[in-house]
Structure formats: C-alpha cells, structure tokens
Amino acid sequence: MERFLDFGIPGIPYGCAYALFAVGLVLTYQTTGVFNFAFGAQAFASAFVFIVLVQNAGLPIWLSFVIAVVIGAPLLGLIFDRFLFRRIPNTNTTAKVVTGIALLVAIPTLLPVIFGNQTLYNPPTLFFNQSIVYFTLAGYPVNGHDLSVVVVTAVVLSALLVVMRFTSLGVRMRAAVESRRLVELDGGNAGRVVSIAWAMSSLLAGLAGVLLAPAYPELQAQNFITLMVAAIAAAACASLRSLPRAVVFGILLGVVSLLLQGYIPTQTIFYSSALPSIPFIVLVLALLFVPGLRDLGVNKDPMSSVDTPMPPLAAAIRSPQMNRIMRTLWLTILAFFVISMLTWIPANWENVFNSGLAFSTLFLSITMITGMGGQLSLAQGTLAGVGAFVAVQLGNHLGVNMVVGMLIGAGAAATIAIVLALLSLRLKGLGLALMTLAAALFFDSSVFPVHGFTGGQSGVNLQQSWSAPFNFYETSGHQFFILAMVVLTLVVFMVVLVRRGTVGRYLGAIRGSETASAGLGINLTWQRLLVFALSGGVAGVGGTLLVINTQNANPNQFNYQLSLVFVVIVITTGVTTVEGAIQGGIGFVVIQQLLTYVPSRFQGLTVVLFAAGALTYARHPEGIVEFAKRKSTLLLQHHLSGGARLEDQPGGTPGSGGSAQAEGPSGSVARPPLSQSTLGAERG
C-alpha cells in the first residue's frame, strides 16, 4: 500500500496537467464544435509571451499575466473565431480539423520568427512557489507547482460547470454548436455566443500554458504538444462531452502512468516500449469502445443544406481549347524539366527536385486516402516510415536490392494501414483523424525508437551495396532522378487507373452517400480497406524514395508532426488532384531551399506558408492553389473567348458545376471536388 501511495499520489498533480488540457479540449468542442488541435500551441504561445515579458522586458509577473493570458489569449481565440473558424460551416469537420492542425504546426514556428530564436529557462511560477515544499502527503513533497495545478484545475472545473449548466450563456453555447442558424432564428446572436466560447477556451489555454510552464526547466513547444496528445485520450474517454469526466480520466491517466512506471521493472521491454504509449493505447480503446465517439463530426444541423456547394476544379471547367493548351503546356514543362535535370541544373537544385519527387510520391498517398477515399489520415508519414525502414533493414541485413525492398516495404506499410482501417471501421471524420493520430503517436513512442529497427536517433545509414548497380550518391549521374521519375510516374498512373476504374467510382459513390452506396451493393468495408492499403503502400514507396535520396533513414523524418505537416501541404495545394500532390512535394522543398538564402531566423517559414494556405481550406476546400488555378483558368478563357462574361462560362460562379470529369494534366483525371459532406461524411 505504501508503494502504491508513493507512486500514485505524485500522479495526481501530474494527471491534473492532463486534466486541465482535457477540460480545454472538451470545453472548446462543446462550445464551438471544434476539436481544437491548436490548444497546446495556444498554451505554448501564452507561456512564451508571458516569459518573454517577465524575463526579457522586465515586467512584473502580474502585468505579464494580464497581457499574455487575460488579454492576449482570448484575443487570439477571437481572431481564430473571427477570421478562421466562423467561416467554416458547422458541418464541415474536415475543415475544422485541418485548420486546427495548420495552427498547431504554424504557431510554434512563427513565434521564434517574431521574437527571435531564444532559449527560455526557468519559467516563473504564477501562484505558489515551485521551489517550496508546502507539505508532505504520504511521503510525497507537495511543492508550489503541484499545489497550483491541483487548485486551478478544481477551480476551473467548478467555474465551467456553473457556467455551462446554470447559465443561459452555457445553454446558448451548446445550442450554437448544434446549429448556429437555429439560434439565429430564435433571435439569438450565435456569432457573439461562439466568440465568447472561443475567448473562454483560449483563456483556459493561456492559463494552462502559463501554469504548466514551470514544470519544465526550459520552455519548449514540444512539451505542451505532448501534454495535449495525452489529454486527447482523457477527453476522448469523456466522449468529448463531460467536463468532470475529462478531469477524472485525466487524473487517472496521470496516476496510472506513474503507478506503472513505479511497478514495472525498468529493464523490461514493456517499460521501455509500451509505457510511453499508454495514452495512445487509451485513446485507441476509447475510440473503439466509447459509443459517443463513433459519430464525431456527423452533421446535426438541420439547416446545413443551405450551405453553398463548392466550386469545381480548374480542370473541370476548362474548355476543350483550353484543355489542349494546358496539356501542351504541361507536357512542355515536363519535357523542359526532365531535360534540364539531365543537363544543366546545378547538383544542389537537382537534389532539391529529387527530394521533391520523393515527397510527391509520398503525398500521392494523401491524395488517395483523403482525396479519393474521403478519409482524413494523420498517419501517412508514419506509414512512409514503416516502408522505408523495412526496405532499409532488408537491404542492410539481407542485401535485398532496393527496388525489391521498396516493394516489400510498401507491402508492410499497406499491412499496417489495413490494421488501422480495421480498427477504425466504425469511425468517421474526427474519430478517424484521432485514430490515425493515435497510431502515429504509438509508432513514434514505441516502434520507431527501437534501435534495431530504425537506428534510433542517428538513424540507419544506407549501404552502397544494396542500391547496386546504381550509384545514388553520385548526383551528376542522375540515377536517382531517373528512379524517382519512373516510380512517381508509375504511382501516378496507378492513382489515375484506380480513380478511373471501378474502385474510384465506388469510392466516389461512398463519399456521396454511404447508405446509398450500401444499397447499391457496394461493400463499404472492402472499399475502405482497399483505399487504406493502396495509400499505405504508396506512402511506403514514397518513404523509401525519400531515404534513398537522403542516404540515411531517420525516425525523425517520419514523426507525427511531419505527418501533420504533410496533410497541411497537400490540403493547401489540392488534395483532390494528382497535380496537387506533385505541386505540394516540389513546392515544399523548393520553398525550403529558397529560404536558405534568407537569415536562419526565417527558415522555418516553409511550414508557416503552407499552414497559411491550409487556413484558407474553409473557403477553398479544393486547395488555395487549386482555387488560384481555377481563377486564372477562368480569366484566360475569358480572354480566349473574346471577353465573354465570366458568369457565362462553366464554373464561372461558385457552385455552377461544370463538366463532371475532365482530363487533367499528366494524364490525370480531375474530379469535381469533394463536397463538404464527403470528406469525413460531415453532411448527413
């Protein structure tokens, strides 16, 4: 019993940190309908500003708190609401998730750009002094930080319960989540209610950030994001609905984690591999067995049908004349690119484009799973890593040639993807996104650290022998470029064939209506498994290409954060088209390279730029790049047609449709964009 208390009691303040974040997630979801992936980033932002004000500007703690938390945090929330989330229809879960992810990856990158790279040590304590042990509880020295976290968690929970249950504001907030239009019809100001909800939840994020910062000797965004992913498990256990249950599960998670840490022998595989992944295992179990999570994101708004349908793709509105021009243009560009790569492009830029081709291949897996399959997967980077490490290990240990290894690696990634699909058969939208995120986190914490598989932190250096007879080190030989082009071309053809074939048409039907598709005899489970497997395999191929190019396979190339970044990139450039993936892959590395010409402080802006693009997803679900292409196509056709009114052209006005399908560049078939109802089945 003594041992139980020894390890259990420290878990309470530890779990309260989870609980505070979990409460924030549930509160945001309950009051805004948004699962706020950016909550941890908001907390980090407040803590960052708070510490900078105290330590660099020399302001008093109370004034810094007022500026960073009382004013700054709600202001940030109001900005999120006014300029981002308010523009997203209540029913479009995918847009909300993508926007949250874009903020999650952008905020920690943007702050050093604004304030400069700096290490922030020893965050100041807000309430009770962390250095003082106030009392001892069953042998555990309760310090000021522990006391602060427990007390604030209790106060916050109580206050929120009062607001949500006993005030009209609480009722209106919950009603606004169901349907803003109904609230408006009832004479309420739904926009104002939602704004208040954002301000409240952001205030909580800021408070949590400043409160929890002293737990870490150095302020790092990673700490808050780690906290948040654990808190997601607690929030999921509470069905994203109950604040008290979120607190209870948060504390339980903390207590159980520390108890296991105390009881399990430290030199066992369970301790080193399974223990770190407990929150993610809990999340998976919650998603599987908590009934309320299965229909996350399913439309409840009876007035959702008034939403404006989305515009067609650029390729779908082109006139035959325009199509011919575009096809010629693309082929010319392609030929110019290939000839240039083989002749005059400097070695460094050749390497950049080679890397872009590898990323393009990887990104096509997102085109398949999200663009074609309508499923938002946050684990494509992980699947790419599985493929890459399998191929590398086969090559290094068994001397398997890399082409064979790539195929076997793709098979392994596809297998993992199938397991993931089986686990998430009953999940849609947000639930599926969380399941794939849990999988990515599980691999990051338990599989990729295994030294024998990934080489750990230093990764695995590729051996020259397994790439024989080609020499991929020698960039002037162009071998890698030829390999990457061949592989990418094959994958593009596969994607196009799948899209044009029965599978693609079935998937299109399923995106439109699962019920109707089932009624037509389409096996939904089989189709889902198929698209997961195909996208997993493509990711594995892309991952292998990536490590051949870098000559070193490192688990950090495939961590969950990069998986999120990959999604953000492809969403920005267009998730529904093959060219969107290729533009994303090439654009990602080219922008990164161009930023090497500016001071290092700005080099992280690549992610911010794509995140900014993804933030437009709500207005342009086809991708901001695709939107720009459509606009330019319309303008060009306007000139070619001798000045005919834009409205008279197909697709000239939003929602005006256009041809159902049109030949796109590179032989791809561009489809009409996914409707807001299809990505994640938001619309009922």
């Binding site: 530890y14 790279n117 962390q130 030199q267 080193s272 230093s458 992280g604």
Partner: protein, 449 residues
C-alpha cells in the same frame, strides 16, 4: 518524436601517440600564441582523401575563405545544439582581427539551420557544398549527422559528435577525436566514486542510443569493478516525469546518481532529489553551462561533471589557451562564454584554421584534410587533451577527463593534482574494468602539464 543529443563530450577520446613520427612545426606564428604549436606526423601514416577527391578550392578567393556552418538552431532540438555556432563565430572574428589565415579572411558565408528535421539536414549538406560552395563545414551540430555526401566529397567538416556517425572518414573532425569509446566513462565515474567514498550508484538515461549507451557502459563497467548498481532506468521519457525515478533512487539507497540525460531533465531530477530529501550525490554528463547554473544554482550545488576541455574556471596562468578563449569570447560572443557547446565550436574552428594555415599556398580541401590529419598533439590551442589525428578517426587511445563541481555560482575543477585539471587512465581495452582506478601521467602536450 523528439530525440536528444547527449554524451559526446563525456565519451570522446583523445590520443597521445608519442610513438608516432612526430616532428615539430617549423613555421612560426602559430594561429594562437597561447600554446605550443601542435606536432605533426610524417606523410606516410596520415589518413587522406580518396584519390582524386577534394582537389579543388571552392569558396576560396585571394582574400577570403567561405565556410558554412550547419546546426540545429530552431525546433525541438535547438536547445541541445544551438550554442555551438557562437564559438565558431568568435574564433573566426578573433583570427580575422589578426589578419586572417595566410592573408585570407574567414567568412562564415552561410549559417544553415536544419530545423530539427533530418530531411532538411540532408538537403542542407548539398546546399553548403553545391550551392554555397563552402570550402569547409565548421560548427556542425545536429542529431542527424550522416557522413555520406561529406565523406564522398571529402569536404573538411568539423563539429559535435553525438551519434558515432563521425567515426571513420578522414575529413570528419569532432573535438576529442571521432572514435567514441564508451567504457572510458566507467573509469571516470569509478575514480570519482573512489575519491568521494561512495560505493553504490544509480543511472538514468533516455531510450536513445546517445544517452543509453553511455549509461549502459557505466553500469557494465562499474558493476564489474565491484560497485553496487542500486537502480537503473535507461528508458526515461524525454521531458517526462522523473518523480518515480527519484522515489526509486531514494528507496534504493544509491549514493551517486549518474545522469546521461540532457540539462532540462537533469534539472528536474535535481529538483526531485532536493524536494524528496534524497541524500545522494550527482554526476551529470551534460549541462555544465553557466546560464543553467545562473538559473538553477540552488538545485545544482555539489553536482559533479566530467568534461573533456580545460574547465573555464581553471587558473589561466597555467592554461594560456583558456585565457585566449575567455578574452575572445567575452569580446565577440559574450552571451556564450560559459556554454559547454561554444567551446566545442571554438575548437572546431581552430582545427579548421590550423589545417588551412598548414596547407599554405596549396589550399585544397584534400590538403587541409591531410594537414589536419598530420597533427599528432592537437589541443585546440591549449583547451583539450592532445589528439593524434593520424589515428583518432578510428581508434580511441588516451582517456582523460577533467572533473568540475558546482560550488556556489561556479563550476570549479576538482580531483586534479596540483594545477593539473585532467585525470588520465590507462584502459586495457581487452578487459576494461575500472577496479580501483589509479591516474596515469597525462600524455605529452596536455594543457597545464
């Protein structure tokens, strides 16, 4: 996943090799007048670039030499690697203030940041070589170092070895030698335990090789030496809760806690130890930065460190190289004077400059590599144990450590003899068991000798 960079300074190796055919440098005006010029070896025994590789002089003009740095300046790992660059910059400014090297000024033309992303690292290596046409890479500090393209082009490369990936190729240099030999750590700790009269120990490390390998080697060596391993956890989660470990340490009765973790978790560990009232001493492999001590001095009192360079509080009258370092750093990079990585950056830059100087008018990459590899008693101008670069790319031969302890607001040298801060051991690699370790005479050329 976040990973960490850890124990390079603790387990790097130097070499003395007095038996090599050493010959004093005949040229005058060493780069630093603060120490004796390093000895050089005969051509025959020197590792060189592959035939036909590195024969050019990219980035070299009549008046300047363009050099690139590549490190993790942003992202999750910036705290572990970011501080190497100021040391490089300070050394280059110091040299340039004296007219440069052989009439050429040193130009750190690009400061590349891999943003804690291995794919970006790989691309930036190409950027430095193919786009920026850097003559060499100095101040390379990243967890993702991989030698492939650098070795293939035989680009002179100087940096911070945390992964073992530096070992082998003749053009890669890290302070202390590129060959890592972890068993030496057990000797340093065994000697410390003997001197402070403790018999049991606990070890804490992350589940990544750079951390766990070091502590595993300590466990193995110390146990074989008859010391008691009271507790070990080689899978501490990075940034996780160390409270259970502190409790286990308390109940185990360990008299010395050996931490192979990074500075932030070391501070959390120290806080736990203090608040639980655990009566144990601590030995950290990382974190001897003045800024850390300024912020967490109350938690760090009495903590021991093993370091490979002359402690910054050593008496400068015996260590003129230290005087030069401190003076230049205070002038050119005052915020980083007390940083344990900045001194590595300084040493990296110093080795590059020494190679360039010795190359003279035949300034090709291959020749700089060759000239550096001819150095048999390289001490970074009096800051490090002498390294024999004819062998230190592949073999660790001499094993010394300086001990420092937190006393007040300083890291003071301890356990040395007289003013000599380094304690050296003769390790039998066939059976590296540190039973009752007794210091050996430090190798010729050791600073302060």
């Amino acid at each position: 996943m976040v990973s960490v960079a850890l124990v390079a300074t603790a387990c790097s190796s130097g070499s003395s090799s007095p038996a090599t055919t050493a010959a004093p440098v005949t040229t005058t005006s060493p780069i630093s007048a603060s120490s004796a010029p390093p000895s050089t070896a005969a051509n025959a025994s020197v590792p060189t670039c592959p035939s036909g590789v590195g024969q050019g002089s990219p980035g070299v003009t009549a008046n300047s030499i363009n050099v690139a740095s590549l490190s993790t300046q942003t992202g999750a790992l910036a705290g572990d690697f970011g501080a190497m660059l100021p040391g490089v910059e300070a050394y280059f400014k110091y040299i340039d203030s004296m007219g440069g090297v052989n009439g050429r000024m040193l130009n750190l033309s690009s400061k590349l940041d891999d943003e804690s992303n291995p794919s970006q690292y790989s691309q930036l290596v190409h950027t430095a070589i193919d786009q920026d046409h850097a003559f060499g890479l100095v101040g390379v500090a990243t967890a993702f170092f991989s030698p492939n393209y650098l070795a293939q082009t035989c680009t002179p490369t100087y940096g911070y070895n945390v992964t073992g990936n530096w070992s082998g190729p003749p053009n890669l240099y890290s302070t202390g030698g590129t060959a890592l030999y972890y068993p030496e750590i057990a000797y340093y700790i065994a000697y410390l335990m003997k001197r402070i009269n403790v018999r049991s120990f606990a070890t804490l490390a992350y589940g990544v090789a750079a951390s766990s390998d070091a502590c595993a080697a300590a466990n193995s060596g110390l146990k074989k030496a008859g010391l008691t391993q009271a507790y070990t956890d080689l899978s501490v989660p990075l940034g996780g809760n160390v409270t259970p470990d502190v409790q286990q340490i308390k109940s185990s009765g360990a008299q010395l806690v050996i931490s192979c973790m990074d500075v932030t978790d070391n501070v959390s560990l120290a806080r736990g130890i203090q608040q639980y009232g655990v009566k144990t001493k601590q030995y950290w492999l990382n974190g001897s930065d003045q800024s850390t001590l300024d912020h967490y001095g109350s938690l760090m009192q009495g903590v021991y460190f093993g370091i490979q360079h002359v402690p910054l509080t050593a008496p400068v009258k015996y260590y003129p190289g230290l005087q030069t370092y401190l003076t230049a750093m205070k002038k050119y990079a005052p915020a980083s004077v007390g940083d344990e990585l900045a001194i590595q950056g300084w040493a990296s830059a110093a080795l590059f400059v020494q190679g360039v100087k010795n190359a003279g008018s035949n300034l090709t990459q291959a020749n700089v590599v060759k000239q550096d590899n001819m150095l048999t008693t390289w001490t970074a101008n009096g800051l490090y144990l002498p390294i024999d670069w004819t062998t230190s790319h592949t073999t660790a031969t001499t094993f010394c450590s300086a001990y420092i302890q937190v006393q007040g607001n300083k890291y003071n040298p301890v356990l040395g003899q007289g003013h000599q801060v380094f304690v050296c051991f003769n390790i039998n690699k066939a059976n590296p068991v540190p039973t009752n370790p007794v210091p050996e005479i430090s190798p010729p050329g050791t600073p302060g000798a």
